[in-house]
């Protein structure tokens, strides 16, 4: 591990769902350990695509993604988690036909050997999951599913945690709880990168933010500054799902 | 030799209509109809039942004129395909394939079992043929039929071209190329697909009626799943999404099929006829897989479909 390199460095990323039709046109983002960075912007700005590109789920046609100095741009999707990146997609982020316990076990697929310690840690962090460990994920409430999705991503002890709209469709109290958990995770040393439509709330809990429009960087800076910046406020912060 | 060529040409033109119909469903609408032979059979049997000379043991055999039989065949197939389509069009592609395959299997079973109507395993004979009484020799009739088929094929080809260039046809193409446009159109997209499905199936029924009026009898063993496979092979080899390709594919594949059949009978002793036939099928199966693997566009297929947004 090299001291002094920002943990995640995305430079001039070009990516899209169909080869030859990029949605992200040269986006640059940085996230360091112990900080929460949020990507905000209007619908269709390509925010989710940036995360999916880092995760290897969409085609990357240009630019670089470096994790701790190591180039991970061209990694196939199933190798991304081994490099230390945990990803919580927006939809389809838990296996509904598997139990809570199985979801977590599958989440640790790349970890050889006993999982008991990791499982106990997950259950300690998310108490409601412990109570429901033998139940199918399908039966969980929205908030519990989100918890499971995050717990699942944490099973491999990622150094970078990416979340795509983690609070979508959740009640305000649960939103608070999720953000509180993320704050705790960041404090424990993880780099957290999230995309959020709930821009105000997300910026309030973040250290820094990037505003993306039409697949490009528009604004960037400390979260507080973005919250106070009138141009950002009038264009984007008013937007709610 | 000439007689054989005339016969061959008639069959190719009938199969060509089937392939054009399938092209409408698959190439232009993106519907995987794995039950082509089923609609072909409905057309064939309807025509047979309507026009065959009356006999006491059969419920049908109405003895009506040839043209009535053809129109009845198209109507019956249109109705059947509309019902099938209502249930299956909204299914995902491979489920549609399974469902239509099941339709064809069921229809063949009905043809095989419902003897009072379909004649069961023996089928029906003395089926209405166009102007049959005017011709004394089979060759004469076949020649006339060939002429009729050429005119029909030309008409259908031209008509399909016009339809596909009409506003209706352009919407259809848009739906095929751009799934999001289809989703935005919602229910209407399904209606267009259903209409294309019914239109294509009706043509298949027409082909069925033409087939049995050509050979003069109908038998359930002419409507086995292999026929569906042959028509698909024709479309894929010729190039889907392209009407010229469809007709060309029909010619090429049928020529290979008939040719390999002749070769097999020459080279394989009659005692092993079944094995010889197996070789023929294996060759076609391999041909198909090779085309799919190495030249998926077919002989004159259109360029790969690109989303409309590429020019935005």
């Amino acid at each position: 591990m090299s001291e002094g390199t920002i943990h995640l460095q995305v430079s001039d990323l070009v990516a899209g769902y169909v080869r030859g039709l990029p949605v992200v046109h040269g986006v640059s983002v940085e996230v360091d350990r112990r900080e929460i960075v949020t990507l905000i912007g209007p619908n269709g700005a390509g925010k989710s695509t940036v995360l999916k590109a880092i995760a290897g789920l969409v085609s990357r046609e240009g630019g670089h993604v470096r994790l701790d100095g190591r180039d991970v741009t061209a990694l196939p999707a199933h190798e991304v988690v081994s490099s230390g990146i945990g990803f919580v997609p927006q939809t389809g982020n838990v296996f509904t036909t598997l139990t809570v316990h199985e979801n977590l076990t599958v989440g640790a697929h790349v970890i050889r050997g006993a999982l008991n310690e990791r499982l106990e840690r997950a259950y300690a962090l998310f108490a409601p999951l412990a109570a429901r460990r033998a139940l199918r994920a399908r039966t969980l409430s929205g908030g519990e599913r989100q918890m499971l999705a995050i717990a699942r991503a944490l099973m491999t002890d990622p150094t970078l945690l990416m979340l795509d709209e983690p609070t979508a469709g959740l009640a305000p109290r649960v939103v608070e709880e999720v953000f509180r958990q993320l704050r705790g995770l960041a404090e424990s040393g993880i780099a957290v990168l999230m995309v959020e439509q709930n821009a105000k709330a997300a910026l309030r809990v973040s250290d820094r933010g990037y505003v993306l429009t039409e697949g490009k960087n528009r604004f960037a800076g400390p979260a507080r500054a973005l919250l106070d910046e009138p141009r950002v406020a009038e264009a984007f912060l008013g937007t709610r799902r | 030799m000439l007689a054989y060529l005339v016969f061959f040409a008639c069959i190719v033109l009938i199969l060509g209509i089937l392939t054009l119909a399938l092209n409408l469903q698959w190439g232009f609408t993106g519907l995987f109809n794995a039950g082509v032979v089923g609609f072909y059979a409905i057309g064939a049997y309807t025509h047979a039942i309507v026009t065959a000379a009356p006999q006491p043991q059969y419920v049908g055999n109405l003895g009506l004129p040839w043209l009535v039989g053809v129109l009845a065949a198209m109507a019956a197939t249109a109705l059947a395909s509309w019902l099938v389509g209502l249930v299956t069009i909204r299914l995902r592609g491979d489920y549609l394939a399974i469902a239509t395959f099941g339709v064809a299997v069921s229809i063949q079973l009905v043809a095989l079992n419902w003897e009072p109507l379909t004649g069961g395993p023996q089928g029906l004979t003395r089926i209405g043929r166009p102007l049959a009484r005017l011709f004394e020799t089979p060759f004469g009739f076949n020649l006339w039929f060939l002429g009729l088929m050429i005119v029909l094929m030309a008409t259908i080809y031209w008509a399909l071209d016009r339809v596909l260039m009409s506003p209706w046809g352009r919407v259809l193409k848009a739906i095929r190329e751009d799934e999001t446009a289809a989703v935005a159109l919602g229910k209407s997209a399904r209606r267009f697909r259903l209409e294309a499905f019914v239109l294509g199936s009706t043509l298949m029924g027409l082909a069925g009626a033409l087939y049995v009026s050509f050979i003069g009898f109908v038998s359930p063993y002419d409507f086995l799943p292999i026929v569906t496979f042959q028509v698909w092979a024709m479309l894929i080899v010729g190039g889907s999404g392209n009407n010229r390709g469809a007709v060309l594919g029909a010619l090429v594949v049928w020529a290979i099929w008939a040719g390999s059949g002749v070769l097999v009978t020459k080279l394989v002793p009659p005692s092993h006829a079944a094995q010889g036939a197996a070789i023929q099928v294996i060759l076609i199966g391999l041909l198909l897989m090779l085309v799919l693997l190495f030249r998926p566009r077919g002989l004159i297929g259109e360029a790969a479909v690109v989303s409309r947004h590429v020019n935005d």
């Binding site: 789920l57 697929h109 | 995987f32 592609g93 079973l109 391999l286 198909l288």
Partner: protein, 300 residues
Amino acid sequence: MSQLGQALADGILTGAVVALGAIGVTFTLSIMRFANFAHSELLTWGAYIALVVVAFAGPGAPTGPLSFGWQLVAAALIAAVLTGLAAWAVDTLVFRRLRRRGAHPLTMVFAAFGAALVMRHLVVLVWGHESRYYTRELQMAAELLPGVRVLPDQIFIVGLALAAMIGLHVFLTRSRTGMAMRAMAESPALAQVCGIEVEGVVRLTWIISGALAAFAGVFIGLTPQIHPEIGFNVLLSLFAAAILGGTGSLPGAVAGGFLVGLAENLSLLVISPGYKGAMPFLLLLLILIVRPQGIFGERS
């Protein structure tokens, strides 16, 4: 009443065999996302491979009330291994190439049609159309209930089929590889995010599907004969069972298999046997109209 009992007994036997075949279909539908029309030919190949083994080693002297000895069971196991490998080989030669190219799923269905024809007619080429038998031993039917007759072989088959299904269930729910398979069956994208490699799961799926299909083929061959169409004859039943139960679900495929088997045999009580083959199709239409995701399936 006894007719009903007999139909139920026959239905359970048919159901067990269809369930074994449907398990493979349900996983190819959910993991590889295409309707593998060549799956039924794996049953045929399994039956014939076992036939080859039996031709060398013999089916074994009848053990107890059964018409065969342990040699046939060994032949079935060998057939299962070889058919599993054959399934993987067909994937490597044909389907994987198409998958790599990002081929349309329907192209794969079509290639499967072609593969099915080749597989089936290779069998005809080598063995012809005549029916063959593992053993010429006659069996005494046992009368389980008044009017309900089953052959001891049939009871053995149902028992073995259930054992295979339970074994697979344990594998899928207790082992991490099995869970990975189920995860991939539900969501390939999320599975990859968890680090599961698609090709590894695909390979395993083919091998398991092929092995189960081989068992099903041997069972059909045992009750009562082997011929090149045995796989094709149950193709529609396999698909109906898999979709009825909900794709990607082992309990679904099993439930679907038994339901299809029972429906086919119970329908014989009211309709002519010639139409038996249409029953799975009717069930399929019914489930697609009423509950398209199947009994155990999730609404997507």
